[in-house]
Amino acid sequence: MMLKQLLLAAILGVPLCLSAETPEEKGLAIAVEADRRDQGWVDMRVTMSMILRNARGDENHREMRLRSLEVIEDGDKSIMVFDTPPDVQGTGLLTFSHKAEDDDQWLYLPALKRVKRIASKNRSGPFVGSEFAFEDLSSQEVEKYTYRYLRDEMANGLDCFVTERYPTDRYSGYTRQITWIDKGHYRIQKVDYYDRKDKLLKTLTFSGYQQYLDRFWRADSMAMVNHVNNKSTELLWQEYNFQTGLSDRDFNKNALKRTR
C-alpha cells in the first residue's frame, strides 16, 4: 500500500512533504498566506451603503464612512461613522482590534456627546439591525480563529480552498465558520456561519473584487443571507482610498468625537 502511494507520488510528481501537512496546519497556512498578501496597505478610507431586506423584500438603507489603520504587530484600528439614517448621523464606532485579547470598542452618541464603551460579549449581537453581527465586521486577524483545511471546491467560479475555522473568542456567536478562499489570490469568496447550536445560520458572499495599488484586493459587495429568517443585508463598498496619510491621532476617542 505504502509502496503504491510512493509510486503514485513519483509518477505524478507530487512532493511527499505536502501530504505530511495536517489539515490544521494547511488551514492555518492558508490563513497566514491570505494575511501576508494583504499586508502593507497602511491606511484606508471607504464609504459603505448597507441595504437591509426582510423576507417580504422591504428595504432599509444606511450610509456609513469607514477609515482604518493597519497595525502590523496587533489588530487594526478603525472608525465607522453613520451618515444616514439622519437620526443616527454622526454616531461613530471606534474599534481597536487585538490579535490575542478581546477587541476594544467605543460608541459615540452625538446627541448626548457621550462615548460609551461596548462590552466585548455584546459583539455577537446584530449590527444596526442588519444580518451582520459586530464580530462579522471586525478585523479578521489570523489569531482570532483556529483552522482546519477541508477540501478544494469551486465557489464564485473560482477554484477555492475550503477551510473550517473556529473562533477563539469565547463570546463569539458561532461554533464554526466555513470559508472559501480562492487559490489564485487568497481572497475570501464565501463564508458559512454556524450558530451556537451548530446549525447553518448565515452565508456571506463576496463579489466584485478589485485590486487597489496593484496589490490589495477588496470586494465591492458583501451579501449576508440569513437562512433562518430569510432576511438579507448587502454591504456595498465605494470609493476605496488607500495610503491617505492617516495616523494614530485619527483613531482615538477625541477623533471619534469630532467626526460627524
Partner: protein
Amino acid sequence: MIQRILPGLFLSLFVLAGQADDSGLAEMDEMLSAGDNFVVAASFRDRRRAQSLADGLTLSHPPVVRASEIAGATWHRVLVGPVMPEEEASVIKRLESLGIEGGWVLRADIEHSPEPPNDGRQAVDQDIAPPLRGLRIPGSPATFPATSPAPGTMESRYESDFNPVRLKKKSMDFRVPGKKSNPGRWRTDIASEFRVFREPGLNDLPGFHPSVSIRTEYYRTWNGGNDIFAFVPFYRRDGEDDERSHFDIRELTWVHVSDNWELRTGIRKVFWGVTESRHLVDIINQTDNVENPDGEEKLGQPMVNLSLTRDWGVLDFYLLTGFRERNFTGENGRPRLPLLVDDDDPVYESPAEQYRTDFAVRWTHYFGELEVGLSHFSGTSREPRLLPDLDTDEFGIPTDGVLIPVYDVIDQTGLDAQYFIGDWAWKLEAISRSGQGDRFSAATFGFEKTFVGIFGSRGDLGIVAEYLFDDRGERAPVIGEDDVALGFRYTLNNPADTTALLVWLYDVDSGEYLMTLEASGRLGENWKMILEASMFNGGDETNNDFVSILNAFDDPESELGLFQDEDFLKLEFVRYF
C-alpha cells in the same frame, strides 16, 4: 496548456490579464518579459472602438489593442507599454492630457500571484475587470446584485461606463494625498411634541401641552479636516409655558486639531461620566431644565478647551468663560413645584456673577477593560440651592412666596470608573464638593449586564442596577441620598432601531419612587417617534394651602411628594431634513 510550461512570472500576468484570445496570446508572449507593466487606457466590448482610440493616440509607446476574457465576455483593452515602473505616472498623466482619465497599470507582479493556476478556469476571473470605482448608484439593487450579473446587464454597464468621455468625468485616483475637507453642510430637524398630564395638580394647570422645536446644524471642515466649525442653534415654542419657549445656541465652535493636541473654542457641550441613573461627575454644562426634567438636556457653555492626547491618557483643560443660569418652568409650565422659581434675580456668591471665569481639568485613560476618569472643577455651581422668599400676613404667617436660586462657588473633585468582565459592566461615579455648606460626598455605583439575543430573539436586554448615595443624608436637596435605581433596556435590533428603557428609582428611606419609560423608533427613513412617561409615587399627599406646601418643601422625607400630581406622558415626532 501553454500556461503550464511558462515560467511563473509570465503566468501571474495571465492570471491578471485574463485569458487572451488565441491570436493575441502568442503576440503577448513575445511582447512581455519579466516585470513588464502596461498602462490600460480604456477597455471596450467593441474591438473597432478600441482600435480607433489606439490609432488616435500619439505616444512614445505605440498603443496596442489586446483582447481579454472577463466574466465570460471578451474585452478589448488599449494597452500602452511596456512601461518601466518610473514611467507609469508620466504615461497616465500623458493620457490624461489627451482626455483619457482613469488609466491604470496592468502589472506583472510576481509577489502577488506566485502560484500557477491549477487549471484554465483560473483565468476566467471576473474580478480582473477594469476598476469600477465611483461608477455606481448607491442602494440600487438592480445594478448591484450580490452574485454575478446576467451577461446582458454586465455588458450594458460596461458599455456605458468604459468610454473615455465618461471616464474623464469620473476620476479614478485611488491614492488620495492628504485628507478630505467637508465644504459645509446644513442639517435640520423639526419636532412636534405633545405632553399630557394626568391631573390638574396643586396649581390647577392645563393638562395638554403642545410644543414645537427646531434644531439646525451647520458643519464644515477645512485644512484637510484639521479645522472644524460647527453651529447648532435650537429653538422651542411651547403652547402653554412662556419660560419653556426658549432659544439656545447649543454649539458655536471652532476646533483646531494638531498631532497630539486639540484646541476647542466657543460654545460647546461636554459630557463626563459612566452611570445611568444620575450624572454626578458631569458638571461643565448647565441643565436645560425646561426642556426635560430628567436633566439630560444641556445648555451650550462658552469655553476654551485644550485637549492633550498622550500615551498616559487624555488630559483636558477647560477655561469656562461665563456662566449659564438654570432655567425653570413658568406659571403654566409643567411639571413644576407648587412654588414658582423666580429666576430673574438669582443670588451669586461670586461678585462677578454670571461673568465669572471657571476652571476645570480632566484626565481619562483606559487600562485594558478598566476605564478611569479623574476631574476637578472650580467655579460657580451649576446646581443652585433654592431658597424660599416669602410674603407674610400681619401675624407672620406666610401667604405667598417664590424660590430664589442661589449659586455658590464650589470646588468639586470627581472620579468615574468602569470595569468590564464579560457581559458585566461595573460602574462608579463619586464626587466630593466643598462650597455649599460643609464639604460632602456623593456616589453612584452599580452594574449593567446585557443579555444578547434574549429568549432566542434578535433583541438585547440590558439590566441596570445602581445605588445612589449622598452623605448629607436627608439634608440633600436632591433625589439620591439613599436610593436604588433599577433599569431595563430592551433593544429590538430591528431596522427601525426600536429601543425602550424603563427605570424605577426608589427612595429607601421615604418609600417614594419615580418610574420613567422612554421608547423610540424610526418611522421610515426620516421620521422618528419618541414616547416618554413619568410617574411619581409615594410620599405624603400635600394639601393645597401655602403652609402645607411649605412644610412639604421642607420635609426631608418628601422629595417627590410635591410632584405627586405631575405624572405625564410625552409623545414626540421628529422629522429630519
